[in-house]
Amino acid sequence: MYGFEALTFNIHGGYLEAIVRGHRAGLLTTSDYNNLCQCETLDDIKMHLSATEYGPYLQNEPSPLHTTTIVEKCTLKLVDDYKHMLCQATEPLSTFLEYITYGHMIDNVVLIVTGTLHERDVQELLEKCHPLGMFDSIATLAVAQNMRELYRLVLVDTPLAPYFSECITSEDLDDMNIEIMRNTLYKAYLEDFYRFCQKLGGATAEIMSDLLAFEADRRAVNITINSIGTELTRDDRRKLYSNFGLFYPYGHEELAVCEDIDQVRAVMEKYPPYQSIFAKLSYGESQMLDKAFYEEEVKRHCLAFEQQFHYAVFFAYMRLREQEIRNLMWISECVAQNQKSRVHDSVVFIF
């Protein structure tokens, strides 16, 4: 019932919305980032973070810190937040929250499969997986030889199973296949998530469709740029684009035939919301595109908090925290490797 969420939303979602808004208030601010960027050692970073919500997670770490420890502990905090919210959630919010992790699940599946292909140790790979995307039998992925086995053995039990319907082949796994699988899965996931949000209706549908459309469009652009110069055919490329978003359907036709970055840019500049992304970039430059996308994404996620009584705040919070952890990782790496001049290159301020 659009417009009447205020009447009933708080019965089930009010407590968690308050929680998530409280969590959001704990996100690092610009002044925090400024302080962090001035740190000399990782211990300084730990000290600064001890005054933030990450404090309890870092306080028991012995002193020679590593970047991975910081990132691991910060992720642990995100996971704890998420699990707490998931425990408290009722339908349909709990399903919504679960949807948020499917992206990580896909990434983890791809990571393990690629890793086994290159004969890495499974335990080592498991440590690299994002804890949000873990499922019970993830370690068994290493057994599978091809897509069909992958599906039949492991993924049929996971929520990812329905997304596999489009990419079951008996071909042996190789890098190209896996990458196509990832994108097909992602496409199916985004479309499913989009449909789910539309079903929820109200402000959730409105805001989430905006956020997901951005996500889909960004993926489309990334797929296009990454597939330039590979053997992927135009039709195959076209198939990997999600069937919604601003580019759908005409933009996709144009993207599918792009041969270099400037053509992509020309396509995107036809869409007013994306013009600003390119405003700061010079022609032929694709390095900074990621950061520009991230900045745009963060802006949109922050805006999601402006409205009340909808679920998009949960999605936005998770994404913002992830961005924050990426920032912390970058800062820590720069500090650890004495590359402080590059600190600002990839940090996306959230507020």
């Binding site: 000290m47 039998s137 290493a142 053995l153």
Partner: protein, 825 residues
């Protein structure tokens, strides 16, 4: 002459030290760098100086003593690690404190590092041992369980076949197999059919998924057998005991084997080879068992060694933790100080109470002396712009009352502290609503238990609820004493009246007492000397009598309480030297309240004294509706009508009196001050501070906005006028709650206890008694006392304190070692 005398009288009153917070002074310390640490730690022991952060704009790691703070944090991390280890080992950490020479921070750091290194090494050793021990134990269990599988899985088909053979036909092959089995020559048949097996052990909760996965991977071409391990095995990561399940998978083919092994690995299942030969099995089992006992001995020795090391740490742990916590606090405080220009001295600023100045100077001198510093520490007073913090010296008895007041708002610097009155009035108001001396005795016993075990309870950590009870033990004590007193007045002991103070004043009309509850009793002697006559109990007019008494009593107490509040506002205004507030706020407020509700109280007292039948509702209502009409039979005393008219006029006059003059006078003062100067705000504010610091602080509005002041005054006046009606009505809650309390306890007494006692059956009586006891404990003692507490709280916070209390100060938080708690790090 009268006001002059009054002033003289008030000036001659003893100084109201209790009511005012401590006089504070803003001090500056200039400490030579070499004695800084010692000086700060001495001040921390003293705990009477609140430092101001002079480096607020610096981030924590840019401050001077960041390295020391980091080292302290590192040390407290190690100490936490030790504590964790000690708790895991099940040792007591603070069993006894060993006398030991004071240890230096540097030494301690080295010490801790050594201990940590040692512990980690021991842990890793014992982990390794534990792992191999676990492996062996698992192997042993697998051997035991898997053997039974191997036998039964071969045995069962055989017996089936034997039946078949008996019934249908003879099958030599099967008989041979069976006999072969019995002759312990099992390998051949399984090898012949290409059937092989893998045995191992897996966590119990993973079994189902494991089996399903195996089934899928081998497309069903396998046989899965499982049995619970029986023994619990320690999980190396969480060091918890977990249940495991032994499994044996039969399969055929090499490809299946690699798949199954991979799946085992993925599920964290440990596979152990089990020989099919039973004699070999026995041999291996024996070997494993002997190695197990060896390992067990080694493990035990390791654990003993480790426990010894931990115990030696545990002896010092509390002391070390205190030391590190103190050091960290000292460095944190040092980080708040500034270096002066020469970089040789540290400059600190902060608030301290006037009375503590000599103590502080002594401590600082001691610090200079002890650190052999050439230069003394300079300690001098300064002027501060901001208002000083509020500091009341309390003891264990007065502290909870101060907390009750502070929960509403911390007093403005030096304003009248309501906690002084709260100490008595609060428990008394509570008792008015909780008047039952039986319940009061129960509360008293509880409070006495808490007080008697004070020393023991104050050292240990309590739950949040217990902590609240314990913190308020003296409040509960006074509350219970007063409720015993009020209970004696109400004459209720678990709602039963007693003839404590002699016989009742009433008697039945005749000997049969038939009409005692219909027509009533006759009074035959002097009134009952103390409290309510027990004969009222159960009589027809019991409720109307008690209601009228309690209602009037509530109004009397309410009016007295509110008057006290207004009088306190007078003392506040006098203290801050604002005659404006006295003349245009205090006086009209007094007049307004007392001309209406003070008069009502007078009527009540007159009525009680004279025993008149006048209807007070009628008097009060018609005082407003038609003040000139004759009172008729409701007249209580001579001259009542003119008095009423005068009081009404006074009340009507008081309203504009408190509304208009103050803002206009303020405006006039303002224009006089700024005459001819339109842009002198900066100068005047400074001049203000010098000339009259108190008043300047009180109305700090630098820009005078007449409409704002006027609206503010209007709100205040309206609030007071409406408030005096609604607040008086609000005090009727005293009556309502005490009525509810006595009715509830009557219900439980009569409808539960007496009803059950009516039966001549022990079980019913016992049930009735239990129900009564629980209802008394939980509903009357807990819920009712909580609700009475909350209502008393409200009467204090709202009805009493809104008459005079600003409550916009901030608390004095001195740097003190005593206030460092375990949660700090």
């Amino acid at each position: 002459m009268f006001p002059g005398k009054m002033d003289q009288f008030i000036d001659n009153l003893p100084p109201m030290d209790l009511m005012r917070s401590e006089k504070m002074t803003f001090v500056q310390l200039i400490i030579p760098a070499e004695s800084a640490h010692r000086a700060i730690s001495y001040l921390g022991e003293l705990g009477l100086l609140q430092f101001r952060d002079l480096n607020a704009e610096k981030s924590p790691f840019q401050r001077t003593f960041v390295n020391q703070v980091k080292r302290c944090a590192e040390m407290s991390r190690k100490l936490r690690f030790f504590k964790d280890q000690i708790n895991k080992a099940g040792l007591m950490s603070s069993s006894r404190t060993v006398l030991q020479p004071d240890i230096d921070l540097e030494d301690l750091e080295v010490h801790l590092a050594e201990h940590e290194h040692e512990l980690i090494e021991m842990n890793s050793n014992s982990d390794k041992l534990r792992q191999s021990y676990n492996e062996l134990l698992e192997f042993k269990i697998v051997l035991q369980k898997a053997c039974s599988f191997l036998i039964s899985s071969h045995g069962r088909p055989v017996s089936d076949e034997r039946e078949l053979q008996e019934n249908v036909y003879s099958n030599d092959d099967y008989i041979e197999t069976a006999s072969l089995l019995e002759q312990e020559m099992r390998p051949q048949p399984s090898n012949m059919s290409g059937l092989r097996f893998i045995s191992g052990i897996i966590c119990k909760f993973k079994v189902l998924r494991f089996e399903r996965m195996l089934f899928r991977a081998t497309r069903g071409n396998m046989l899965f057998n499982q049995a619970p391990a029986g023994e619990q095995i320690m999980d190396p990561i969480s060091s918890e005991m977990i249940e495991k399940t032994v499994f044996v998978v039969f399969f055929s083919g090499e490809q299946a084997r690699t798949k199954i092994l991979k799946i085992c690995e993925a599920f964290g299942a440990n596979c152990y080879p089990v020989p099919e030969d039973i004699s070999k099995q026995g041999q291996i089992t024996r070997e494993v068992t002997s190695r197990l006992t060896d390992l067990e001995a080694t493990l035990d020795a390791g654990i003993r060694h480790r426990n010894k090391a931990l115990a030696s740490i545990a002896d010092h742990l509390t002391k070390w933790m205190n030391l590190v916590r103190r050091e960290k606090a000292v460095y944190d405080t040092l980080n708040m100080l500034n270096f002066d220009v020469t970089k040789k001295c540290l400059v600190g600023e902060g608030w301290c109470p006037m009375i503590a100045k000599t103590q502080m100077q002594e401590a600082l001198q001691r610090a200079t002396f002890d650190s052999n510093s050439q230069v003394g520490i300079i300690f001098h007073q300064m002027d501060a712009v901001e208002s000083p913090p509020t500091y009341f010296r309390t003891n264990t008895f007065t502290n909870p009352y101060q907390e009750i007041v502070d929960a509403y708002g911390v007093a403005r610097y030096q304003e009248a502290n309501p906690a002084v009155y709260t100490t008595i009035i609060f428990p008394f108001l509570f008792a008015l609503m909780f008047g039952d001396w039986g319940h009061g005795i129960c509360l008293l016993l509880g409070a006495l238990v808490l007080i008697a075990r004070e020393n023991k309870l104050s050292t240990q950590k309590l739950g949040s609820f217990m902590e609240m009870l314990f913190g308020g033990r003296y409040v509960i004590l006074l509350m219970s004493l007063f409720s015993i007193y009020c209970g004696l007045i109400y004459n209720e002991f678990f709602s039963v009246p007693f003839h404590i103070f002699g016989a009742s004043a009433y008697q039945c009309r005749d000997s049969s007492c038939r009409d005692a509850y219909t027509i009533g009793l006759i009074k035959y002697r002097e009134p009952y000397p103390f409290g309510v006559d027990p004969s009222w109990r159960g009589s027809r007019s019991e409720l109307s009598f008690l209601n009228s008494m309690k209602m009037k009593m509530s109004i009397l107490f309410g009016v007295a309480h509110m008057n006290l509040g207004i009088i306190l506002s007078y003392f506040n205004a006098r203290f801050f030297g604002s005659s404006l507030d006295i003349r245009y706020q205090f006086v009209p407020q007094m007049i307004f309240l007392n001309s209406l509700f003070g008069y009502l109280s007078l009527l009540i007292i007159v009525k009680w004294c004279t025993g008149s039948q006048a209807d007070l509702y009628h008097v009060m209502i018609y005082m407003f509706l038609s003040p000139t009409d004759s009172l008729g039979e409701n007249q209580l005393f001579w001259g009542q009508r003119p008095l009423q008219i005068v009081l009404l006029l006074l009340a009507v006059v008081a309203v504009p009196w408190m509304l208009f003059p103050k803002p206009f006078i303020l405006k006039k003062l303002h224009t006089e001050r700024f005459q001819g100067r339109n842009y002198g705000i900066l100068n005047t504010s400074e001049m203000d501070l010098e000339a009259e610091p108190d008043s300047a602080r009180q109305h700090h509005h630098e820009e005078f906005n007449f409409s704002e002041v006027f609206v503010h005054q209007m709100i205040h006046s309206i609030e007071f006028v409406l408030g005096s009606v609604s607040n008086t009505a609000s005090y009727l809650r005293l009556w309502a709650l005490s009525l509810a309390h006595s009715e509830l306890s009557t219900v439980f007494y009569e409808k539960v206890l007496l009803l059950a006692w009516g039966y001549d059956n022990l079980v019913i009586r016992l049930v009735g008694l239990t129900v009564f006891a629980f209802a008394t404990a939980f509903i009357l003692l807990m819920m009712e006392s909580l609700s009475a507490f909350l209502h008393a709280l409200r009467l204090h916070w709202v009805e009493f304190q809104n008459k005079f209390y600003f409550g916009d100060g901030y608390k004095f938080k001195p740097f003190s070692f005593a206030s460092l708690t375990e949660d700090d790090d």
